[in-house]
């Protein structure tokens, strides 16, 4: 997978490029709107990450010109502007997602992956299995080590989200956004309370702990 990053902040770019490399992506980086636009017109990328406030040509214009040429790659906007109007106009100009700065890298990664697999068939699975834990997505039942576990609908959705992102860290904001579709962080302890409730049902009484807290970043499900 080949990605293009158009971002003028050198330090931020360095970390994004490094992180994406480590996640297994090939990344080109352009420091301004004009070179970014040229790169997009000359090469084929699977996804572009575009900052809005760019030297020479702003991000929205880059997106507009790309869409005018009927180039359909997914685009994520990175911006320090976070008002509703900015977000709406960003999406109207043809971007697929909008991430406000500062952001957590794991969130950027999750959004990239969500956009890249949009067309793939991972969403059509009827069962998710992780280690000795299995989720039946049709009957909404959970079994661990052959024991049936009763989960509330939201707990099921939370576990499903964790397993779909197995091995990756998901932040509290991501959880609240994807599982409850709230666009904000409603208090620090809410997710924590949810996770510990889920842990009680999933991990308590089993040898191996599956749900882990990564301090400062969020949660992950791993071996």
């Amino acid at each position: 997978m080949k990605l293009l990053l158009i971002e003028d902040d050198k330090i931020l770019s360095k970390f994004i490029v490094k992180g994406l490399h480590e996640a297994g992506y090939i990344v080109d980086h352009m420091p301004d709107g004009l070179t970014g636009l040229e790169a997009l017109l000359q090469n084929t990328y699977d996804l572009a990450i575009v900052d809005l406030m760019l030297p020479k040509l702003d991000g929205l214009s880059v997106i507009e010109r790309i869409r005018d040429k009927k180039i359909k790659l997914p685009i994520i906007i990175l911006s320090a502007k976070r008002s509703i109007d900015d977000r709406v106009s960003g999406l109207q100009k043809g971007s697929d997602d909008y991430l406000t700065k500062p952001f957590s890298f794991s969130e950027l990664l999750a959004r990239i992956e969500a956009l890249l697999r949009r067309s793939s068939d991972i969403n059509d699975l009827s069962e998710l299995v992780f280690e000795d834990l299995s989720l039946d997505l049709v009957s909404r039942t959970v079994v661990r080590d052959n024991k049936k576990i009763d989960l509330q609908p939201k707990e099921f959705a939370l576990l499903e989200y964790l397993i779909r992102n197995a091995g990756r860290i998901v932040s509290k904001t991501m959880i609240i956004e994807r599982v409850w579709s709230y666009d904000f962080d409603p208090g620090t302890n809410v997710v924590e309370a949810r996770i510990s409730k889920l842990r009680e049902k999933i991990d308590k009484g089993f040898k191996k702990t599956l749900i882990h807290t990564i301090r400062g970043l969020g949660y992950t499900i791993k071996k």
């Binding site: 904000f184 309370a193 301090r215």
Partner: protein, 463 residues
């Protein structure tokens, strides 16, 4: 004078007043003068006509002899300087007259005689100036029977004397009334503008930074009183806003400094000490947590401002407030459970309002989060959604620590935290945001609270 250069209001007002008053007096005077003049003038004419009628009757009753006798009588009694009577035949030859010594230059014109005959019984009346008379004389020619013409005249001297007396009586008014009126006007204007000057001086002091200044209005002019009171309430508002802002700045500085201080300490430790890898990871995690706290504080500050400005109302749509409340309660249920708080709800279903879903969710999250935060373990929280014909009512009642009466008003202030809650987690923006959202939906939030018994927050939103 030129009105382009700045003139005091009093001067301007007085000048205009004096000018208006002068014009008014002048016009009144003229009207009076000319109407008295006209009345007196017509009286002289009437006198002449009366005399003519008298002589006609005399002639009709007693013939020429009686007229001659009457003219001789007039000669003896009347002041010959004031009036004259002369009887002429149709050729203009004098038959008899009163003493005409004082009426030199009194001619008889054939045309007048002819016209007097033509216009009979109307007399011909003319005003002439005689060389030895200071004033005009009114002269009438009238046909008496068909043989004689009576020429009769009266001086306008009496009338002019009277007009002069009137003029002399009125003239001093200009010299007395105008200065007095101007002075009175000047005093009133000064009195009124004194208060306006006070307002302006106070404004200057306010501008210089003394926000305790207020205006005391001495005038009883209602506009000036209302100017003073609105100025004072403005000053009051400015003072309270400034003190609020100062406090807010202090609070922001405190709230920014604390996490920054921690980040600084963590980073310094990471650089200067030989830590283990795990210790470095913990340090980074702590830094991340502090950064997130700062980011969320800054974002929420901006969100409060955005909600207050009402920009969001563009993005309003139909939302089911009942299900929003239900979802938020469901979301917070485990958190309440972790403190063994019973979170119960009585929600009337399917209440629809026009609003911003995200903001309403966040408003309710803030309120319920607060309720859980400020309720001790084993407490109770009850959430109710009800409605009347005008508005939706959302009640969030807790058995928590409550809010002291003198702090209730201030809990909505940005960055304000009650003394008891200062040590608590949070940035003091939750309620500011909640109220901004309620107000952007044309609603509001009311609080009833008792220390150590609990608080009840009522959100009302019209629909």
């Amino acid at each position: 004078m030129s009105f382009k250069s700045p003139t005091t209001f009093s001067t301007k007002l007085t000048l205009w007043y004096a000018l208006t008053f002068f014009l008014f007096l002048l016009i009144s005077f003229c009207i009076l003068y000319f109407s008295v003049n006209a009345v007196l003038d017509s009286e002289i004419t009437e006198d002449l006509i009366e005399d003519i009628d008298e002589f006609r009757t005399l002639y009709d009753d007693n013939g020429l002899g009686e007229i001659k006798r009457e003219i001789r009588n007039e000669n003896a009694t009347e002041d010959s300087n004031d009036e004259f009577i002369r009887l002429l035949n149709l050729e203009g030859k004098e038959i008899i007259s009163t003493n005409l010594e004082n009426w030199k230059g009194l001619y008889v014109f054939d045309t007048k005689l002819k016209r007097a005959v033509e216009t009979y019984p109307e007399p011909i009346i003319e005003t002439i100036k005689l060389t030895n008379h200071e004033y005009y004389t009114k002269v009438a020619y009238a046909l008496i029977s068909d043989k004689y013409i009576l020429q009769i005249g009266e001086s306008t001297e009496d009338k002019n004397d009277l007009m002069e007396i009137i003029a002399f009586a009125l003239a001093p008014l200009f010299f007395i009334a105008i200065p007095i009126a101007s002075l009175v006007c000047w005093k009133i204007a000064k009195h009124t503008t004194k208060d306006i000057e006070k307002v302006s001086k106070t404004a200057t002091l306010l501008e210089a930074g003394d926000f305790t200044q207020r205006v005391k209005i001495g005038s009883n002019v209602s506009e000036v009183i209302s100017l003073g009171s609105s100025f004072n309430s403005m000053a009051e508002r400015v003072q309270s806003l400034i003190s609020e802002m100062r406090e807010m700045n202090d609070n922001i500085a405190h709230d920014l400094r604390s996490p920054l201080g921690r980040i600084r300490a963590i980073s310094e430790d990471s650089i200067s000490n030989n830590n283990t890898l795990d210790e470095y990871k913990v340090a980074s995690a702590q830094t991340l947590e502090e950064c997130d706290r700062l980011i969320s504080m800054i974002n929420t500050t901006l969100d409060v401002a955005e909600a207050e400005s009402g920009v969001n109302s563009k993005h309003h749509e139909k939302v089911d407030i009942s299900s929003i409340v239900e979802e938020v309660c469901e979301l917070f249920e485990p958190l309440a459970e972790s403190k063994n708080i019973s979170l119960t709800s009585t929600i009337q279903p399917n209440k629809i309002i026009i609003g911003n879903k995200q903001n309403l969710q966040r408003m309710l999250s803030n309120m319920i989060d607060n309720a859980i935060k400020y309720t001790e373990n084993n407490g109770e929280i009850n959430v109710q959604v009800s409605n009347n014909e005008k508005e939706i009512k959302i009640l969030i009642k807790d058995s928590g620590i409550g809010i002291p009466a003198d702090e209730i008003k201030r809990v909505f202030d940005r960055f304000y935290r009650c003394d008891i809650s200062r040590s608590n987690d949070g940035c003091g923006l939750g309620l500011s945001f909640a109220r901004a959202v309620a107000r952007s939906h044309k609603g509001d939030i009311q609080i009833k609270s008792e220390v150590n018994k609990g608080s009840a927050f009522t959100i009302t939103i019209p629909y």
